[in-house]
């Protein structure tokens, strides 16, 4: 009899201990990031951002009174690894939401894993294919190239330009810009009368630019791509003295581009993301505060200028934590519904307004046309 009592007491103690542990159980959020490999320039700032802000949330008391446990895997810019880690996040780590992957390719590879498991994921990849067609459990934070092209073409249209030249890189970003901007130009009734390309490592673009210069009737030139060739284009552009206005995509929205162009970037129009221009915005703009705070924090953490890529991760974490708070639960389905219901949430990429048909939630109003003046960005009205 005594034995039985003892056993019952022990069982009760164990049970209550278990439920106490339940209450303090952390909320597990997964992430698959390309911290190394060719896309390290995306993944590294994302990794730094996620770790910093999860620590900050935990230090401030966590979510729903519970701590967040962040489980990050590095896929080394390999879609196969991303897939393996995703399965691990679902089956072993039992996460309630997921951030990643860093690239469009890896995201498309892992999306089915989270669709099957019915766990929401917020991708950091730029491709439109991630959210079109809409998958119930897949969201994303970065701008699409389509938005950038629409913004640029709208500005060209407002200036009365109707015949333009394109010069784009043959890398992934350049190709996508060429495709999307051609479509956007067509839709706006703007004719593309010269269409040149350059390799991502080319050292001289004079022949292509000479052809554009010799093309009859060019009103403006659009330059799309990524990295060092953009500065080379701008330098050659100035050397050859092309008289047309020069538009660049968001790939040029960095201090490095302006510095490397050594003065040749003066007057260049760039479609810039919020983070780059945040400090130039009016204080009344609801987007300003978060973007400036993130930008300053990132510089403090790394000593480097903030990049949009880290900002995508900031927004992904924001979407998920905001959804957990509004849903008041860490049930994956509830989080999914809450993310989809997100309205007027100021992120550092833009203002998020999700809906059942729009899993990106930002539009071209979160992009800003800026011009380089005295080596600095100035807003264009």
């Amino acid at each position: 009899m005594n034995k039985l009592k003892l056993f019952a007491a022990a069982a009760v103690t164990a049970l209550s201990a278990a439920s106490a542990a339940q209450a303090a159980d952390p909320i597990r959020i997964g992430a698959v990031i390309s911290k190394t490999g060719p896309a390290a320039f995306l993944g590294e700032p994302q990794d730094i951002t996620l770790r910093h802000y999860v620590d900050k949330i935990n230090a401030d008391g966590g979510l729903l009174g519970r701590q967040i446990e962040l489980i990050i895997y590095d896929d080394a810019t390999n879609a196969n690894n991303a897939r393996t880690f995703s399965t691990r996040l679902v089956e072993e780590d039992k996460v309630v939401a997921m951030i990643g992957a860093s690239t469009t390719g890896a995201t498309l590879a892992i999306a089915p894993v989270f669709e099957d498991a019915e766990i929401p994921m917020v991708s950091l990849g730029a491709g439109l294919a991630i959210v079109e067609p809409v998958r119930p459990y897949v969201f994303k934070t970065p701008h699409t190239d389509q938005l950038v092209c629409n913004k640029t073409i709208t500005h060209m249209k407002s200036q009365g330009y109707d015949e333009i030249a394109l010069i784009t890189g043959t890398g992934g970003i350049g190709k996508s810009m060429r495709k999307e901007c051609t479509a956007a130009a067509e839709a706006a009734g703007i004719k593309i009368i010269a269409d040149e390309t350059f390799n991502p490592k080319d050292v001289d673009m004079s022949p292509q630019l000479t052809r554009i210069k010799g093309t009859e009737g060019v009103d403006a030139v659009f330059v799309g791509g990524f990295g060092q060739p953009l500065a080379v284009v701008t330098r050659n552009y100035a050397q050859l003295g092309l008289p047309f206005p020069q538009y660049h995509s968001h790939g040029s929205a960095s201090k490095v581009y302006v510095d490397l162009s050594e003065g040749a970037a003066e007057g260049v129009l760039v479609t810039g993301p919020l983070l780059v221009v945040a400090s130039h915005l009016d204080d009344s703009n609801p987007l300003k505060a978060a973007a400036v705070e993130y930008s300053d924090t990132y510089t403090e953490l790394t000593g480097e200028v903030v990049s949009s890529f880290g900002g995508y991760a900031y927004d992904a974490l924001l979407l998920i934590t905001n959804a957990i708070t509004t849903a008041g639960s860490d049930d994956p389905a509830a989080i999914r519904d809450a993310i989809e219901a997100t309205q007027n949430l100021p992120g550092v990429t833009g203002m998020f307004n999700m809906s059942a048909s729009d899993h990106l939630g930002i539009d071209q109003d979160s992009l800003f046309m800026v011009v380089v003046k005295d080596g600095n960005w100035v807003m264009v009205e």
Binding site: K201, S206, P207, T210, L240, L260
Partner: protein, 290 residues
């Protein structure tokens, strides 16, 4: 007409850049028959160390000389630590080792220098020169003069000095050279130093035009290798002429055909030339005497 001139000027500038890289290939190849695929990384190290030397407040010339020196040390390390221990392996295996070294150096550079892009100030200023409606960057002149000077120096060294004769002897038959009292090890080590110096100098003069980054070496090595093959592997004049041909064919096909196909056009020309001249334009046929 001014368009034609512009394509030609652009082609010569780019061609001389490829030629400078191709020159580096010839020296090590001549001494050891190894095609050193880490040559592009020597170019990168020369450029990046100069950039960082200047950012730490060193004057341009001091930073440049220091960068060349460090690149030479890296090259010696490559020879002593990776190539020499495998000296009894077939040449093919040594070439694979250089590919490994190239990946290693690029990785270390990514960690040390970051993934950003850098520039160096142009020696003669950034104004461009107008020639009958076409423009020439002043730095292009620096690249052309430097490449030609390195070519001349190399020719003098190889054909007019005892040291050069030693290199030729070591390349023909290491055993016979050793028996004639030539220190083959230091000859080959010297060839690594020379190659590294040529690569680093090339990197420093092209950076104001092409910009520098940790992975700039990959494409330059590929184009430089193509140029060296086109001109005849091992022939310095061939290397520079080969570089010019690759650069000009790229510029003219980008200008008159389509920029989409410019690399394809360049490589088709190389293939056609190699069909007609299997040893390259200036390459000599090799005969084995039995």
């Amino acid at each position: 007409m001014s368009e034609f001139l512009q394509f030609a000027i652009s082609g010569i500038t780019v061609g001389m850049i490829y030629g400078a890289v191709a020159l580096g290939f010839t020296v090590i190849y001549n001494a050891s028959h190894v095609v050193n695929f880490a040559q592009g990384e020597f170019v990168m190290l020369g450029a990046m160390f100069t950039v960082f030397g200047i950012s730490y407040g060193l004057p341009y010339p001091v930073a440049a000389i220091l960068a060349i020196g460090i690149t030479c040390l890296v090259s010696i390390a490559l020879y002593e630590l990776a190539i020499r221990p495998a000296r009894n392996a077939p040449v093919f295996a040594l070439i694979i080792i250089t590919i490994g070294a190239s990946i290693f150096l690029r990785g270390v550079a990514q960690i040390a220098f970051g993934t950003s892009f850098f520039s160096l100030p142009a020696v003669l200023g950034t104004d461009s020169i107008d020639i009958a409606g076409a423009v020439l960057q002043r730095q292009s002149l620096v690249v052309i003069v430097t490449t030609v000077a390195m070519l001349g120096g190399l020719w003098l060294l190889m054909s007019k000095t005892l040291l050069g004769k030693g290199v030729v002897a070591a390349s023909n038959d290491q055993m016979a050279a050793r028996m004639s009292g030539i220190n083959v090890r230091s000859i080959i080590r010297l060839s690594f130093v020379l190659s590294a110096a040529i690569g680093a100098i090339g990197g420093i003069v092209i950076t104001p035009i092409a910009l520098a980054s940790h992975d700039m070496g990959t494409l330059l090595a590929l184009k430089g290798f193509a140029a060296a093959m086109l001109g005849g592997m091992g022939n310095p004049v061939g290397a520079v002429v080969g570089g010019l041909l690759v650069g000009l064919s790229e510029a003219f096909s980008a200008g008159y055909l389509s920029s989409d196909y410019k690399d394809a056009t360049a490589f088709i020309i190389i293939l056609l030339v190699l069909f007609a001249f299997p040893n390259g334009l200036f390459g000599r046929e090799t005969h084995e005497r039995v």
